[in-house]
Subunit: 371 residues, 2 copies
């Protein structure tokens, strides 16, 4: 028997079974009915929805109820600034931007410099804090609305955050946090406390505007445990439980788990075209066959082929994606060729992203909240 | 065998043996030599020193070394604002004011509204925060220097505090905090984290002024565990260990442990003369004898007599105190009479204090730091 996969904010290990995760975490699958209902608001559906890359939710139906009752929501997502942004992070945020455009809503974006400092032995707070503003450039580059998007690094916004965090903390026992995140008595007290800081943006806008505002959090599924806890506590503080949309991980280049720079190879938003090419050619796990002859005969194994899996995240045109799919399965497209398609797709995106990222340096002040 | 007394910031129980505490906590007794050395700086000695009410220290000799090397210190003390100030708290602060006057140094005064919220089930943060500013009036009333005294409530100064607190937290394991404060897995994660906030004023002035500044903390001995922890961590962060002066507790009116409103009767700075009189007469544990005849013959038992013990804190004139002592021991002074002396002494102090406390309402802005 293979070991059970582990999915927490601090560890993702093993082959993730997303259907099992829905049962294990107690979330709801995103059904076609739910998508039809959403479509009444958005007219079109983002390919991440039709492709079930966002595959699970909590209370998204309730959120649409509220929207329909003229009680509109805001978005909340975040980033742990331990290093440069890689393209796995960008996928969640591109979808978040789509949501902001569709609903014309605010986005509260937390940069958890405190978390990364507390969880990474070797990083100083100066390092995680300056990385937060480095990462902010990537977020701004994605084109979020300047007057409706608020980015804040926890330690520079602690005057607002800490007083709310302790209200959450008072309801959270050490046992609960240890069990939820796999923390131990040997871990530091900042790690134990931290989840209460991640809870705060679920209700901070409600505090500041002095009314209960619904909150929607698009995130990769490994972050769910933080908000499972938060959701239990919010009603006790007099706020709504946040609704959540869960994304599958962009798979690791080498084939299992999520792409993560701490384990394996990642492609960063700052990588040059040549580096992207080298990484894909060298590391991307291929579903191609042993020989060209065999490949032509059997076709590529699409379920295992990382270049194809990645294209489901990066080729948003359904028609083009289907063509790639069919040609790869039929054996017409070789594994070197599908890699080349991915390389071009990524480099096309990165070229534009890097240009906007450069421009973002002069736009930081329009987005950043500080005490 | 009686149970071992418990002395932590969150529990003081049993008959406290101060000599044992010195061994148990690993502190140094305040010796006559040390007092002579201090006297070179201060010319006179505060009666709390000659009477060994401040009886123990950590690194006070080192602090005087620094002072003599033109590396002057600042003072740090604090208050947990769960309720009105009682006269037990005032005793430490009057001594702190004497130190400020002698050394013309800064005083950083922490109001731990977060702590009291996290440790008291029934108190809201709004309550502990507004109590912090109520308590600040008592502190200001004692006459600390306006331009050299900085009062701050943790949640209103968290923009400065939190980023430093997590630097301490990173070095502190959950086990250490549980062992030091008697906390358990059922306690909340804010309680576990809190001690790192209490550490911050030990080095915040050094952070803000960008140089290492020695720190002296006068406190009641039950607060020592916080700083025992802090002292281990400060060198790792590149700061000095704080020096500490430990005070004995003002004994409880009823005779054992420290005076505390949560357990027993306390006299508040806002009590009226009639209330003070009633509390002393009704509750003060007396060392007087069963009958007047016996008392005249044997004299009062001064070691057990709370009115006398309290006068060692409130009658600062050594000559007057000795007279009371001798007359009580000889049986000349009756227990009703020594109570009357204490009542008059307290009411005299409180009358003046309440006048200054009223005046302090217009002076808050000169003392309070906020983000």
């Amino acid at each position: 028997m293979p070991e059970e996969p582990i999915v927490t904010p601090y560890e993702v290990k093993g082959e993730v079974d997303y259907d099992k995760l829905i049962k294990q975490f107690g979330t709801q699958p995103i059904t076609d009915e739910l998508l039809e209902r959403l479509k009444k608001h958005t007219k079109t559906l983002h390919p991440y929805l039709t492709r079930k890359i966002f595959f699970s939710h909590r209370d998204f139906d309730w959120l649409l109820d509220q929207q329909e009752k003229n009680n509109p929501f805001y978005l909340y997502t975040g980033r742990g600034p331990s290093e440069n942004v890689h393209i796995g992070h960008v996928t969640v945020w591109r979808f978040t931007k789509w949501l902001q455009d569709q609903f014309d809503c605010e986005l509260w974006f937390q940069l958890t410099d405190d978390e990364k400092f507390l969880f990474k032995d070797k990083l100083s707070l100066e390092e995680t804090n300056s990385m937060a503003y480095e990462n902010a450039l990537d977020i701004i580059a994605l084109g979020f609305k300047p007057k409706k998007t608020f980015l804040f690094a926890d330690t520079d916004y602690a005057g607002h955050m800490y007083r709310e965090a302790i209200k959450v903390a008072k309801y959270l026992t050490v046992s609960t946090v240890k069990a939820t995140f796999g923390l131990k008595d040997e871990d530091n007290i900042g790690q134990i406390f931290y989840t209460s800081m991640q809870s705060v943006p679920c209700f901070l806008p409600s505090v500041l505007k002095k009314k209960k505002i619904p909150c929607l959090i698009p995130l990769a599924i490994d972050q769910d445990p933080h908000f499972r806890i938060t959701r239990d506590i919010m009603p006790k503080l007099g706020y709504y439980k946040p609704a959540i949309l869960h994304q599958r991980f962009l798979p690791a280049l080498t084939g299992t788990g999520k792409m993560s720079s701490s384990e394996g190879v990642a492609i960063y938003t700052t990588d040059s075209p040549i580096v992207v090419k080298q990484k894909i050619n060298k590391y991307a796990f291929s579903g191609g066959r042993e020989t060209i002859e065999e490949h032509r005969k059997l076709g590529g194994d699409i379920a295992k082929d990382i270049p194809y899996q990645w294209l489901t995240f990066f080729e948003e045109d359904d028609v083009k994606l289907k063509k790639i799919h069919d040609e790869y399965v039929s054996g017409k497209l070789l594994s070197g060729e599908i890699k080349q398609i991915l390389i071009e797709k990524l480099n096309e995106f990165l070229k534009e992203h890097q240009r906007k990222r450069e421009k973002a340096k002069s736009q930081l002040d329009n987005y950043i909240l500080k005490d």
